[in-house]
Point group: C2
């Protein structure tokens, strides 16, 4: 009984929080574990060691054990984790059993790619609406879904039970779209526009800024170059050689 | 002299590390500060308070002050930070003065969108090569650049001084592409394929998995729903109501 879904023990509901208050970093790693576990399940594995799962997910095993202990999963000594059970536990915590309805706003290059991205459907989401302000795009079909005018967004959110909005508009339009999504009842936004959105408390925003990812890599390139320039030498000298 | 580029003080190179060993989370926020600072500069601001900059970047001001203190920037009491100077400092640390050459591998839907993404060029990067294994795509032009066959990747990396590779291939092809990039000398990879890449020490990988971002939002949706189901009630009961 080292692995059990929390809150499913009658009469023991107060002993562990039923909905664990997970650290943000742990939440961000759960999808990685899930992907690795699905891969293991497909290849016929019924159990996996913490080391094996950690390697497959690209984290260290101490971190993995700590993350999973937040879910009440400790594995079984000498056996490891039950793959199917751990998939259930993580999908439950992530709420992926619900096949959440997603609206995608903005079908330029990036939005078009997102609308055609198979990874959404296979991992617990349904894109149910595509919206754009450009009348040239309205009425076109992407991946079997028609592009609707942005004016229909609010009603669609309510009628189609949409809880997640994906914004792939230019930066200048993003706040207005976010306001409309929130007004219609959306409580989670994935923002691809390169701007900070202002939303009321209770609305979660995740931002994906592709250039920021490159800038972070640039930092590491710069750091590595500064180490290479004068190995073991004066760090002040390194920096001048690289940064000038 | 509250703001100075570290390592530029002759005879004092040992006092502060010339290339600061920044926490990962700080590195990830520097591009956000930079974007907000450019916006301030464009609107004519010469100085900005830590509160003002924190709001524009969407973080809290204590965190911002701590992040910038790692760069040796403390602002001036009653005045704040010098916008132009802070832009210089952050761009220097991120190595953005180098206009790094980027190779993009895989020009399906997502790769096509990335190849047309203006945000790269405007923020310090040059996509110099597009590559694909599909002969149907080779020879086509995206945003003025021809798509070349993947077999030309290694030579292009060397000849064109490419240090960053962006992988937008299907998961099954990503590791092979990463191996080729690394063999040719690329030391930073931005991976859009939904898989963990295995690379030698000294190579940095950042992963963008769009479905993972949605799954993280799904967790928050699930958490919020569990709070709403029985406000202030038994947490065990909440979870059953939501998760069944």
């Amino acid at each position: 009984m080292s692995q059990q879904r929390q809150g499913n023990t009658p009469g023991n509901a107060g002993a562990v929080p039923a909905f664990p208050d997970l650290p943000e970093a742990t939440i961000a790693r759960l999808p990685e574990y899930l992907r690795a576990l699905h891969h293991l399940a497909e290849s016929g594995s019924e159990t996996v060691s913490s080391e094996g799962l950690a390697t497959a997910a690209g984290v260290n095993s101490a971190k993995l054990r700590k993350d999973l202990s937040h879910l009440g999963s400790y594995g079984t000594r000498g056996v490891g984790y039950d793959v199917a059970l751990l998939i259930d536990q993580i999908e439950y915590i992530l709420g992926l059993d619900q096949r959440r309805a997603v609206a995608l706003v903005g079908v330029g290059n990036l939005g078009h790619a997102l609308a055609g991205y198979d990874g959404f459907a296979s991992r617990g989401f349904r894109i149910v609406g595509l919206f754009d302000a450009d009348v040239e795009r309205v009425g076109k079909t992407i991946n079997g879904l028609p592009v609707r005018h942005i004016d229909e967004l609010g009603r669609a959110v309510v009628e189609e039970g949409i809880t997640i909005g994906v914004i792939a508009t230019p930066a200048g339009a993003a706040q207005g779209v976010a306001d409309e999504l929130v007004a219609a009842g959306v409580t989670s936004i994935l923002n691809f526009a390169p701007c900070v959105l202002s939303v009321p408390a209770g609305v979660d925003v995740r931002k994906v800024d592709l250039a920021i990812e490159l800038q972070i890599l640039s930092f590491h390139e710069h750091r590595k170059a500064s180490l290479t320039a004068l190995p073991g030498g004066r760090v002040g000298g390194n920096q001048e050689a690289v940064g000038s």
